[in-house]
Symmetry: C2
Subunit: 384 residues, 2 copies
């Protein structure tokens, strides 16, 4: 099978059928029937191979999480929630089913011990199991609950998109016939969540409404999630886009080639400081220097109400320097890693940086858009 | 022969012998004797293979320029100047030697038609030939003139280093025992010129004087000159350094991990705006936001006294998007290119950006350091 053919396969559907049903591809979807199961995109091989994996057992779900076939906090959580459905199904076949279910829940939790969403999802399902009682109807209850959690996540992102869409519309109105140029960094797309993405949600909604958009996709070294994932999913959804190196954004903004920046985030402080993929801060500086609006798109679950100052209070993960020294890509039809520096050169690899609130034009959440400040956040989250 | 062994070879010397004689490796050097010739590092294969090529004819010099075995304006010019020595030597064997010399000069000029330094160097040599007269002593005169031009370039860079060194010393005095952390972008090192480099000249001089320095080397996508060339030459000279992705510099500066930025440039306007490798502007913004001094090192030949506003007056080269879509590196002992995005994704590739003078702390030239402004430049170049 050639690589092109692999790219056209999308689970049990071909990709055209999938897009007709889902204009924005999902990272996880269900095959419902007598023996329902789950399908995911195996993200480790994107964009060069579009492999989809069937998840039909607890072990399948554990493996998908552990081997990073799925990534992104919401997606990991939802995969585990469906893992609990399989766990209940399998446990019913055992004499000591309840103990078996607990063991399987523990195994799911252990598949990525630092993932907060994973713990949360397994806890939710175990609480439901306790309330429901261990019986033949439990698997169906867990399946339905997982489905609800999945749709809730999709709905949060859809709402983020609805609010962000207004920002795109405002600019589109000022330049009729011309595309709105949006720069994004890393992958805050549908592949990081269930559907829509966060930073991409307004873009997808504009595209579906026929508003002309064009996306500048930052490569996003070291792991190249922009080149690998964002370019891939925008391509699948047929959203016009162009790949640029991370160095290019400043020049683009100086020359009026960017109307708007949308990025995602990993954590936001209650004062509006934003931790996101390394390099976000540099783009925010350039946006500020060129009066380009810079918006951060996030579900409110990302807000850490306990901390104020991002620079001093958010700990930044240091990762292996192999990610700096090597780059993965396709050569002769195979995914390979190449060394880009002398054998003896050491690298330093930090995953995230902090963009101070003063450089952020606004936060786009499922509750609406607010200023990146304590007052701004309080205005749409008075309950916090 | 293993790759390690290749790396240890340096022309007819091994690299240890070369470093003993030249603590800062040169990009071009001479083998003088009865039949003198020129040696260069074939930069196309750095850092993975250290190939040196012998230049023993006009054709060798043409090829080295055309095939980009040598790069950087000064180095191209000097290679052509030595090409003219071989041209004279070869022409003496012809009946119509003078016509032959002119033809060879034209061929050298055509080897890289847009390189201003190349034209300048060939013109210089042809003027000398005219003044000298076409005879047996002409080759030696041309050899000596090429050598003088070469040493002049090295001397300009040495002086830039001497002035820049004072900036490093000032910081070193404030943190005794600790290294001065310097960030650099792209390769403005000895490989781009003859010796010392521009941005690296102060660093090499500090290192040779025993002042502790540590260099953050920006990878410098798309062509990765930082990872390929700067990391390589700092390694050869044993200057402590660490490779980082282009996204990292802002974070480093926010956390006090950069004391000073030194970059080179391609063109400076009379008002002090700086055109340099794409991404320089982003680092200047971060330096400005974090009160990190940001210096541009340049020979005065880089100043374009005809233009004032960098953003509107300097034309920026757009290059093939293959440089964005593919990355070159070492895999299984061979240099290979890997595709880092979907097959169908288009890229946009601009070579340079413009850093406005307001973000530049100072210009380090062979005449001294001045403010990046018309008044600053006039203070050290009153003759312009």
């Amino acid at each position: 099978m050639t690589n092109k053919q692999v790219l056209l396969k999308f689970g049990t559907e071909n990709i055209e059928q999938h897009i007709l049903k889902n204009p924005i591809p999902r990272s996880i979807w269900l095959q419902e029937g007598d023996e329902p199961f789950v399908q995911i995109i195996d993200q480790r091989f994107l964009p060069h191979e579009n492999r989809t994996n069937d998840l039909k057992s607890t072990l399948d779900c554990e493996r998908a999480i552990k081997e990073m076939e799925v990534r992104g906090a919401p997606l990991i959580g939802i995969t585990a929630a469906f893992g609990m459905y399989f766990a209940a199904l399998e446990s019913l076949r055992h004499d000591d089913g309840e103990t078996c279910l607990q063991k399987k829940a523990a195994a799911l939790r252990a598949s990525r011990p630092t993932a907060v969403n994973l713990m949360w999802a397994v806890d939710q399902q175990m609480a439901l199991a306790k309330a429901h009682g261990f019986n033949q109807q439990l698997p169906e209850a867990l399946w339905n609950n997982a489905k609800m959690l999945m749709e809730e996540d999709a709905e949060v992102c859809r709402k983020i998109g609805t609010y962000g869409l207004e920002l795109i519309k405002e600019i589109a109105a000022k330049k009729p016939g011309e595309p709105v140029n949006i720069l994004t960094h890393c992958n805050a797309g549908s592949l990081a969540v269930i559907e829509w993405g966060t930073a991409t949600a307004p873009i997808y909604q504009a595209h579906l409404q026929g508003i002309k958009v064009h996306v500048w996709v930052d490569e996003t070294r070291p792991r190249n999630q922009g080149a690998n994932l964002t370019a891939y999913e925008l391509g699948v959804a047929k959203v016009p886009h162009t790949l640029v190196v991370d160095n290019a954004g400043g020049h683009l903004m100086q020359h009026g080639m960017v109307d708007l920046c949308f990025v995602g985030c990993d954590r936001v402080t209650k004062n509006g400081d934003v931790a996101n993929k390394i390099g976000t801060y540099l783009k925010a500086l350039a946006a500020n220097d060129n009066q380009v609006p810079f918006y951060v798109c996030l579900p409110s679950s990302t807000i850490d109400w306990q901390i104020s100052d991002g620079l001093s209070e958010i700990e930044i993960e240091e990762r292996s320097d192999e990610e700096v020294r090597y780059i993965q890509g396709l050569h002769d039809g195979e995914v390979k890693q190449v060394l880009i520096c002398p054998e003896t050169t050491a690298g330093y690899n930090i995953g995230f940086d902090v963009t101070p609130a003063r450089l952020v034009t606004g936060l786009v959440t499922e509750r609406g858009i607010c200023q990146a400040s304590a007052a701004g956040l309080a205005s749409i989250f008075p309950d916090k």
